[in-house]
């Protein structure tokens, strides 16, 4: 069981890291701001989510596990909102 | 190379970089940024002093750490006052510079 959880942790964190990496590459390589935004927000949310998922089995207590989830939720909330704001600003700039 | 030595050297490098910027940049806001770099370098030096003082089951000496927190707050307050001055200068139509000789722009309003 413990071995299985460890394996899950490793897999999830590795996947999360991959998404972070991919997102950063996208940020650096994509041609325009909107697609960069796309790479950043979508992939970072997913990447962070996977890392949080991987860390959950290693949490010391239920409270710390809860804190991890809350962190992810907060990042989701602020990431989504700022992406909206940046997107609007970009559209306004284009007009 | 322990983390504390690396951080200490980093602090020294930041002080140097900040000093360079402080002397060279003519714009006050850039000077302020450079000053903040010096500040954080100094706090890092203080930080390795705290880290080196690990003893009695603590991984740090709490006294310098408490001082750093006080220092960061004071440095921020200083930045805020400087920014307020810079913004006010530009609002009264003055070119934002530290040169006392530069005249007020003719179209700029006076403070009074």
């Amino acid at each position: 069981m413990i071995a299985f959880l460890d394996l899950l942790s490793i897999a999830a964190i590795a996947a999360g890291t991959f998404f972070f990496f991919a997102g950063t590459v996208g940020l650096l390589r994509f041609p325009d701001s909107l697609s960069r935004l796309h790479a950043l927000t979508k992939v970072d949310n997913l990447g962070l989510g996977l890392i949080v998922l991987g860390l959950l089995p290693r949490a010391e207590s239920a409270l710390s596990a809860l804190k991890l989830v809350v962190i992810w939720a907060l990042v989701l909330l602020s990431g989504a909102s700022t992406a909206q704001l940046i997107g609007r600003a970009l559209r306004r700039g284009r007009k | 190379m322990t983390p504390s030595v690396i951080a200490g050297l980093l602090g020294a490098a930041l002080v140097g970089l900040g000093l360079y910027g402080l002397i060279l940049h003519p714009h006050p806001l850039r000077k302020l940024l450079a000053f903040n770099l010096i500040g954080s370098g100094v706090f890092l030096v203080f930080g390795i002093v705290a880290r080196r003082g690990a003893a009695a089951g603590l991984r740090f000496d709490p006294v310098p750490q408490a001082m750093i927190i006080t220092g960061i707050v004071v440095a921020f307050a200083a930045s805020a006052v400087a920014v307020a001055l810079i913004l006010r200068l530009s609002a009264v139509g003055r070119r934002v510079t530290l040169d006392p000789e530069v005249p007020t722009r003719p179209d700029g309003g006076d403070a009074k």
């Binding site: - | 001082m67 307050a77 200083a78 006052v81 003055r94």
Partner: protein, 499 residues
């Protein structure tokens, strides 16, 4: 030696002296409007009384009075100590702040019909803040606590410079702020290194522990450099003239006579109380040379100014230079070091009172004439006799003519430099006196001419009398009895080493 870290009788007075202006700031800010002025003015007699009480205790006990905050002893806690030099500085500060508060009532009263005006609120809060910060600087026994006090002083002084909001005052304030912040951060870096080397920031504890190591030397250099920038020692004086010349008269007086002395006082604390064991002859020589250069350069610049307030501000740059001669002259336990020590403090006091009187008079002149161009002062002495009497008297002290505090100070300095065999310091001292005579003459000569001049408004008699009173004190300092030097020696580490 443990008595340095236990609360002594009368120690509580120090805490009260600090908390009084702090409470004043809080009250002024919360109540706002006219109450700010009332709180500030109402607290000055108490502050004056506390300063005198502290001096009385120190003088009577013949040793520093100590208060250990929260009964938590250094090195973990903070101890406050008032020794001889703190006592003298506390009284000086209290007198000048009180005078400035009374003088400023005319300009910074909240106008009728307004609940609160910007400049009045700022002035009364900042005046009390300067007072609080200076008291802490004079009595704190902990180098980090002193850092916070230094910053408090900066934050209080900068808004006073640009209180009238003209663009050039904003530039002056910004420059001052950047210089002051740079000075503080250098000081803080030195503090960090000292803590890293010796694990304490309490002044007497450090004095016992410091050794002549590269770390200590670097720390000392950084702290000194930072403090010199704040004290506006040549060539770091660039910020001072515009800042002091553009502030309103009451603020200029406080800035020029007291605020620069705060950081100078810390330099003295550093070298004579924290590091008396370091033999620093070369460093002292360098500082002495910078001081000499300041005397000459500041006086020459003062001679060339067209505006009265700028002239007075450059004169401050010059007069500060004299103070730094204390470093080559008073280090070590020599027969002349006590003499130089008294000379230095006599110069601090004489300059403080004379300069405050000068700035007050300059403010009165500017208000009465509508300008402060020296070239257009023709005949002004005949319509404003009292003001020009004040300028003449304080000028006497700045030049160092007898009888005056300035004369005593420079005379003692001359004697000390000859006895110590460092005769070369006599040159800048004498040259500075001549140049000072030159710039004072530049103010007085046109004013005493027969030209006719019209006044925009006649100055308030009470303000003139205040300025004259300060100038009289500067003169009276020349008759200071020997007890003055004795008080200055109380708690001075090197004095204990004398046979």
């Amino acid at each position: 030696m443990t008595e340095l870290w236990t609360t002594t009788p009368g120690g509580y007075l120090i805490v009260l002296a600090i908390l009084l202006p702090l409470a004043g700031i809080i009250l002024s800010f919360t109540l706002g409007g006219r109450s700010a002025e009332r709180v500030a003015l109402g607290s000055t007699p108490f502050g004056l009384a506390l300063a005198c009480a502290i001096a009385l205790h120190v003088g009577r006990a013949g040793k520093p009075i100590v208060y250990v905050i929260g009964a938590l002893e250094p090195p973990l806690g903070i101890a406050l100590r008032a020794d001889g030099i703190s006592a003298i500085m506390l009284i000086t500060t209290a007198v000048i702040v009180t005078a400035a508060a009374l003088y400023a009532r005319a300009k910074f009263a909240t106008p009728d019909g307004i609940r609160e005006s910007r400049s009045s609120l700022i002035f009364w809060i900042m005046l009390q803040s300067i007072w609080a910060a200076l008291i802490i600087i004079f009595v704190s026994g902990d180098l980090f606590n002193l850092y916070v006090a230094l910053e408090l002083l900066t934050f209080a002084a900068v808004p006073l410079v640009c209180i009238d909001g003209r663009p050039e005052t904003l530039v002056a304030a910004l420059r001052y702020l950047l210089f002051a912040l740079f000075g503080s951060i250098c000081y803080l870096l030195g503090v960090a290194l000292l803590y890293g080397a010796h694990g304490t920031l309490d002044i007497p504890l450090l004095a016992q522990r410091v050794q002549s190591t590269p770390v200590v030397w670097t720390a000392a250099a950084l702290m000194t450099g930072g403090l010199l920038a704040k004290t506006a020692l040549f060539p770091l004086h660039l910020w001072l003239p515009p800042a002091h010349a553009n502030a309103p008269a009451a603020a200029s007086a406080v800035l020029s006579s007291l605020v620069v002395k705060g950081s100078f006082f810390l330099t003295l604390r550093l070298w004579f109380y924290v590091l008396p064991g370091l033999s620093a002859d070369q460093a002292a020589m360098v500082i002495g040379c910078l001081g000499s250069a300041a005397i000459i350069a500041g006086s020459v610049m003062a001679l060339r100014q067209a505006r009265l307030k700028l002239l007075i501000a450059y004169s401050t740059v010059a007069q500060i230079g004299y103070l730094f001669l204390v470093f080559p002259l008073a280090t070590g336990a020599q027969s002349w070091s006590a003499m130089s020590w008294s000379a230095c403090f006599m110069q601090i006091l004489a300059h403080a009172f004379a300069k405050a009187a000068m700035f007050f008079s300059a403010g009165l002149l500017a208000e009465a004439l509508g300008h402060d161009q020296i070239a257009r002062l023709g005949g002004a002495a005949r319509v404003l006799p009292l003001t020009f009497l004040t300028i003449a008297l304080s000028g006497l002290s700045l030049m160092g003519l007898p009888p005056s505090g300035g004369f005593s100070a420079k005379w003692l300095m001359l004697q000390a430099s000859i006895i110590s065999g460092q005769w070369f310091w006599t040159l800048p001292i004498l040259a500075g006196g001549l140049l000072a005579a030159g710039y004072v003459y530049r103010i007085l000569a046109p004013a005493l001419s027969d030209d006719r001049i019209s006044l925009k408004s006649s100055p308030k008699r009470s303000q003139e009398v205040l300025a004259l009173g300060l100038a009289m004190i500067a003169i009276a300092l020349g008759f200071m009895p020997q007890t003055f030097s004795d008080i200055l020696e109380i708690g001075r580490p090197i004095a204990a080493a004398l046979p």
